[in-house]
Subunit: 305 residues, 2 copies
């Protein structure tokens, strides 16, 4: 069976502000056989681009390195302006196990890449998420706190030596976070109310940071155009906190606050399993062996041979 | 994107009664590159084997022909004994569109195969299901009525001329039904009651033949080992009658009869879409674009290129 890894590097550069640079990155992303550029998003306000790569572990790791090298050549962080927090030309490089690959293998990929980026490019890095060497570094936001401008000082603090590299940033490319993480599912639930406080209260109950489900991040928002409140979530590990479980909790809480769910949306991509969990949950499927019973997994096996 | 067709030929031969013949068929099933033998079931009581082939339309069609030829060489229907109804050495050959293939293309496959089986093997055939030339031939059971022994007489009736071939069976291989059909999902729902009459009543309400859902066949059974009643279904087109809709109807009817659903089971394989429908239904997903939002479809696209 084919081994497949997803990689979603974030660059501090946008097509809107630097089209030639953006195109150069796109070209590099397609430069290694066995790795495809699956998706590319650019945001002028954030002055940031997010690529989605998919391919064999070896090919993806090589492309990630080449992209970090090209981004270093293209971007001077001293001159970077954008709304999104950032600390490096290549700001973050997550590896996500996708097919027949373990999290451990992705952790190894992140470590090899960090070592090589230091040795060949002199770009230091933090290992984050499942690659983190200490609990404080699991969270990307904690690693990035202080941003590019505050990093020289932060790296001198005893607990903030980079995992690879010396206690100073690359002068123009800054520092990069690299790590393995499970696939993330962006899932929003819409409520039949214009009271955003209800969405905020529900978000507080369900999210990990205030005592809720371990693998759920949540916020309450107002959808201004529709005049309704939304619970917006990042499900950071659907194997730990499943979509139907969080949905049923929101349903119960919405009822508690005198409203109900009118709909939901999946933002971007999700692995089939995150959604097949709904079939198992709601149909009360007994002994459901999804890898053997869902045709498409066999197709992938067959095609990947 | 790779075009893929599934083909599930049924042979009047079992490993239990003729191991050498069965092995010869297995060998033929694997004889064309681009077509794999996905699954092989054999039943000694039925004296029947069911193969599942998967591959490109051209490869699958060629393998289906070679199998029909080999089955003709191996099987003399005049000497065949088995519990299952049958009319030919190769009893039935369904083609199921699986990826990037239309039902119409599968209908064309069935017609080319029927023509070739007559021209090269002198085996006549009926076109059934979506390939049927008249409504009475859609149903396989109607085509097969009379079985091998009654076929010589049946073919002389004005309305039962074969779609390919003359009004007489092949002396040893009989006649074959060939047709395109949607993927079938076998889905059973278990009730918290030992009263099989409730399962029978529910089955009667939901199945097409007594006025229920168009693409649902259903029967009520007793699961003797568990002491509970089961509604056993063949969902013959989940795009027409979806799993969550039939499940919710059973739930309402079970409640009407004073019981409830304790679980369900998926028997064998199902296409992911049949189960993703549950995510869409129960999570009230808005604007769900499964082909673009479910990762695995992109993997299949990528691997199939």
């Amino acid at each position: 069976m084919a081994k497949l890894v997803e990689c979603i590097p974030n660059f501090s550069l946008s097509k809107e502000k630097n089209e030639a640079g953006y195109n150069a990155l796109i070209e590099v992303a397609k430069s290694v056989p066995g790795c495809i550029l699956f998706d590319a998003q650019t945001d002028g306000n954030h002055n940031r681009s997010v690529f989605t790569l998919l391919g064999s572990p070896e090919a993806v790791e090589e492309v990630a390195f080449r992209l970090a090298k090209k981004a270093m050549e293209l971007i001077d962080m001293n001159r970077h302006v954008g709304e999104h927090s950032r600390m490096g030309a290549t700001d973050v490089i997550p590896f996500v196990p996708t097919m027949d690959v373990t999290v451990e293998e992705c952790v190894e990929m992140s470590k090899r890449l960090g070592k090589r980026m230091w040795e060949e490019l002199k770009i230091p890095s933090f290992l984050y998420e499942d690659s983190a060497t200490v609990p404080e570094r699991r969270n990307l936001a904690t690693c990035r706190k202080g941003q590019f401008e505050g990093m020289p000082e932060k790296l001198l603090q005893p607990e903030w030596a980079p995992d690879f590299g010396e206690r100073k940033i690359h002068p123009t490319a800054g520092i990069t976070a690299i790590g393995a993480r499970p696939p993330l599912v962006a899932f929003n639930v819409n409520l039949a109310t214009s009271d955003v406080q209800i969405a905020k209260k529900i978000a507080k109950v369900i999210r990990a940071s205030s005592g809720g489900f371990k693998a759920c991040k949540a916020m309450g928002f107002m959808l201004e155009d529709r005049g309704i409140a939304q619970v917006s979530m990042n499900m950071v590990n659907y194997e730990v906190t499943s979509l139907p479980v969080v949905y049923e909790m929101i349903r119960a809480l919405a009822e508690r606050y005198g409203t109900h769910i009118v709909g939901s949306e999946l933002v971007g991509l999700a692995p089939a399993k995150a959604l097949l969990d709904c079939a198992e949950f709601y149909l009360k499927l007994e002994n459901f062996d999804y890898k053997n019973q869902v045709m498409e997994y066999h197709l992938i096996d067959m095609l990947g041979e």
